[in-house]
Structure formats: C-alpha cells, structure tokens
C-alpha cells in the first residue's frame, strides 16, 4: 500500500527516533512510503504569533496541492502537530467553497491548485485500520512479554476530529501495545495535555502538567511511557531532569515512541531500527529484559 509520508521538521531532529523506527516498521508491514517532494512546514500551533489564519491555511494547502499533483495518495502525518494542522485545513477547504476559491487564488501564484480530494491520515489510523492488529501480532516475533506500558495519547493526534479513535477514551494505541505483547496499563491522564509547543516558553506552568501525567503513569504500574507525538516525547523525556530539580520529584521514566517498541518486538536491531540509543533516558534494559 502506497502513502505519502509527511514527516515534518521535528522528525528530522528532536523527534528523529520516531522517523528512524517508523520506516523499518512500516516496511515490515507492507507500507510503502513516498515523500511529498518539496514539502514545507505545517506552521505547527504557534504560527498565529507571526501570521494570520489564512497564511497558515496556505502553508498546508500548498502541501495538499503538491500531494494531489504528485499522485494523490493518502498522506500519513506521524507528527501530531503536522497531522492536526493539515487535517484541519483539509476539512475547512472541503467544507467551504469560498475558502477553497480564496486558497486556490493564492496557490495560483505557484501554479498550484487543490481540489480537496486528498485524505490526511494519522499513523495510528493506518496501523490499526489498514494493517490491523492481527498482522501486527503475527509480525511480533519477539513479543514484549507483559512489559507494563502507559500509552500516552496526548492531544492533537485525536482531538478534535476523532476520525479514527475516540476523542475521550481512545483505545488504538493500547490495542497495538497489547498486540506486540506489552501490557497497556489503564491510565486516566492519557488524554491530558503536556504543554505541547509552549512548554519551553511557559515552563513554570507546563512542568506541573508533565508531573501529573508521569505520576499517573507510575501509579498505574507503568515501567515506561509510549507516545506517537514528538512534542509529548520531548516534554516528557527531555525536561524530566529539569522537572525533578524544580519540583523535587525523582522521575526516571523512559519515554519511547510506539514504533520503537514495535521495531523491538518485530525482532529488529535495537539500535539501527528501534533507535533506542536516541533516547536520553535509556529504555534498553527494560525492553531487553521483556524480550527475554
């Protein structure tokens, strides 16, 4: 199955372990990814500071138009910010003829046009609905033997549209965790926000959000936290020692991408494919012990 992979800016740097592990996992499941040639940034959730809403719509419309022109396959956006920006603009263009006309008048500056026919998908949507947990389970030759994982969903990967999972009680990440042999622990804070893109600039406020999430994961028995969002991963992992210092906590919880756990359970190389050496709080010991 062929899809566009719109990985975005973060997955080339701070979220590199997501992209590195996603590629071999997708390949093993028969997913064929192609890049949208000359893609641009989605604008994330902070561009409103520098630009009006129409400019942010245009950023995303350009990527959608390029995808339509280059084959029109479904676009998979693994970064939740890329996903929400792109799917939002796609819906808005599809729902309003006047907006579509306005956007196309602007796209014409680059000789582009977008008719609204491309689908924007989340990676969890594709893994669950197009591939399915049976095939994932079958491929998991080295299951994670009951490793207790908190599947942290966060915000922008399902809210607000909920096209592939419940917005209040999502289950898909947990079902994939179970399919690869891990035990997804119940985790009421799995939908609570970590501070997202304003963590760095509003650190005093956002540290408490991450503390609550990590506390909740640990109280429910999790040994590590999995996520599918580069901002969640950054805020929960990279700032953990800072939170310990500021709030007097003693967190030492590895934060991994779901695809890193999948690569490990698929029997792939823990460094080259699962990219475990990219993690700052090392998850190797826990994962290796679970693999047996």
């Amino acid at each position: 199955m062929k899809y566009f992979l719109y990985w975005g800016c973060s997955l080339e740097s701070s979220g590199a372990n997501f992209l590195v592990s996603l590629k071999p996992v997708a390949k093993a499941l028969g997913i064929d990814f192609v890049e949208i040639e000359d893609w641009n940034c989605c604008g994330a959730s902070i561009s409103y500071v520098g630009a009006g809403d129409l400019s942010i719509k245009v950023l995303n419309a350009r990527n959608l138009a390029l995808a339509e022109k280059q084959g029109g396959y479904d676009i998979v956006a693994p970064c939740s910010s890329c996903y929400i920006q792109m799917i939002k603009v796609n819906h808005e263009i599809q729902e309003s003829e006047s907006l579509a006309a306005q956007v196309n008048e602007i796209l014409a500056e680059a000789g582009l046009h977008y008719s609204g026919k491309v689908r924007v998908r989340h990676i969890l949507d594709v893994l669950y609905h197009d591939i399915g947990t049976d095939r994932i389970k079958e491929r998991a030759v080295k299951p994670l033997n009951g490793l207790k994982v908190a599947g942290y969903v966060g915000c922008q990967s399902v809210r607000p549209y909920g096209e592939y999972d419940s917005v209040e009680r999502p289950v898909i990440q947990d079902r994939i965790l179970n399919a690869i042999g891990a035990e997804a622990v119940p985790f009421p804070k799995k939908m609570r926000c970590c501070g997202s893109g304003i963590f760095l600039t509003e650190m005093d406020h956002c540290m408490h959000l991450v503390k609550d999430i990590l506390d909740d994961a640990l109280v429910h028995g999790a040994k590590l936290v999995s996520t599918v969002c580069p901002m969640c991963a950054m805020n929960l992992e990279n700032y953990q020692s800072r939170i310990n210092k500021a709030l007097g906590t003693r967190f030492d919880v590895p934060i991994v991408y779901l695809t890193q756990l999948m690569a490990a359970a698929f029997g792939m190389d823990l460094k080259k494919d699962a990219a475990l050496d990219y993690n700052i709080i090392p998850p190797e010991t826990l994962i290796q012990a679970a693999l047996g």
Binding site: V49, A51, L54
Partner: protein, 192 residues
C-alpha cells in the same frame, strides 16, 4: 456586566474566527477542560464575556489568550461547536498586531518560528532555539544558553539535533509570494 457591542464588532470584523463567539452560552465547559485555565487571568469563558462587555484593554492585554497549549479539549467539548482554540489564537494574533504583548516569551519564540518558515519554508530547530535564547541580546543569551546547555548536549549526543543548516525549500520564492498575498487577503488589519 452590561453589554457594549463596540469591541465585539471589532472582534467579529478583524479577528480570525472572532464571529464564533456569538455562539457562546457561557456554560464554562471550555474553562473546566483547559489544562492551564488555573494559570490564566481570565478563563476562556470569561474572555468571551469580556468581549461582549466591551473590555478591549482587558481582553487584548490578557495573558490568557496566549496561554493556550492548543490541546483542543475546549474545541472538542464545546456544546455549541465553537472552535475555542482557534478563537484564542485569533485574539492573540490580533492583540500582537495592535501592539499588545500578552506573553513575552511565547511571542518572541512564535515570531522567530514564523520568520524561519518565511525564510526557509521549514524549521531549523537548533537555529530557532539559538535565536530565541539570544533575543534579548548577548549577555542574557549566554546566560540562557548555559542554563539550557545540558539539554542541548544530550540531544546532540543522542542524534536528535540536525547538524547541517536547513536549506530553503525549492519553491521558497513562490511560497513567500503566496504568504504575502494571504496576509493581504486575510482578516486582521495592519500591524501596529
């Protein structure tokens, strides 16, 4: 509070998604769902009521309109389908255009973020952080960098920093033309 529609009309006219506040029934579900509402001077619900009461300075100067984490809890739960996140972003954008600075750090970071998109079409994370840390000049910049150095080093050691500078996308000139045109055609008016 008495109604005074002068500011509300300004909001409907100039703020992206501003006319959506007409639908607000003051139930407070947005405030109850917001992860940072307790840190805000006014909750989203109160912001909407202040707009209707004509409190221009209070609203545009409020830190609340820039403390939105874009978690979409309010948008998904609003019983009247108001895209509260988008209204908050619209208000913050308009406040900045009018010369208010609701939250300084987020404003500096967001401006640099947009500048990079306009310059490259993409974000260069390490350059973005450097510019953010040095926004107030050399001395505060060095202090900020030293404070965050451990994190930067960790990211470098764990291959989570792209070492090569980001090159502009091929279509950068056309992208800039499109963004210029979008700013002209969009709501919001001229910058202060």
């Amino acid at each position: 509070m008495a109604y005074n529609t002068s500011f509300a009309e300004e909001v409907f006219r100039n703020v992206d998604f501003g006319d959506e506040i007409k639908m607000c029934m003051q139930c407070g579900v947005c405030a109850a769902s917001c992860p940072l509402s307790l840190k805000m001077d006014f909750s989203p619900r109160k912001i909407f009521t202040l707009i209707r009461a004509g409190k221009r300075e209070e609203v545009l100067g409020s830190q609340a309109i820039m403390l939105c984490t874009s978690c979409y809890s309010c948008k998904v739960r609003c019983p009247r389908k108001i895209p509260v996140v988008d209204v908050m972003h619209g208000l913050a954008n308009y406040a900045l255009r009018q010369g208010f600075v609701p939250r300084k750090n987020t404003s500096v970071f967001g401006s640099e973020f947009w500048r990079q998109i306009y310059k490259l079409g993409r974000i260069d994370e390490k350059d973005l952080s450097r510019r953010y840390f040095f926004a107030d000049g050399l001395v505060p910049g060095i202090k900020n960098s030293l404070e965050m150095m451990d994190m930067g080093l960790q990211m470098l050691l764990h291959k989570r920093m792209k070492l090569l500078p980001e090159r502009p996308i091929k279509g950068i000139k056309a992208l800039r033309r499109m963004l210029d045109k979008a700013e002209q055609m969009g709501k919001g008016g001229a910058r202060a």
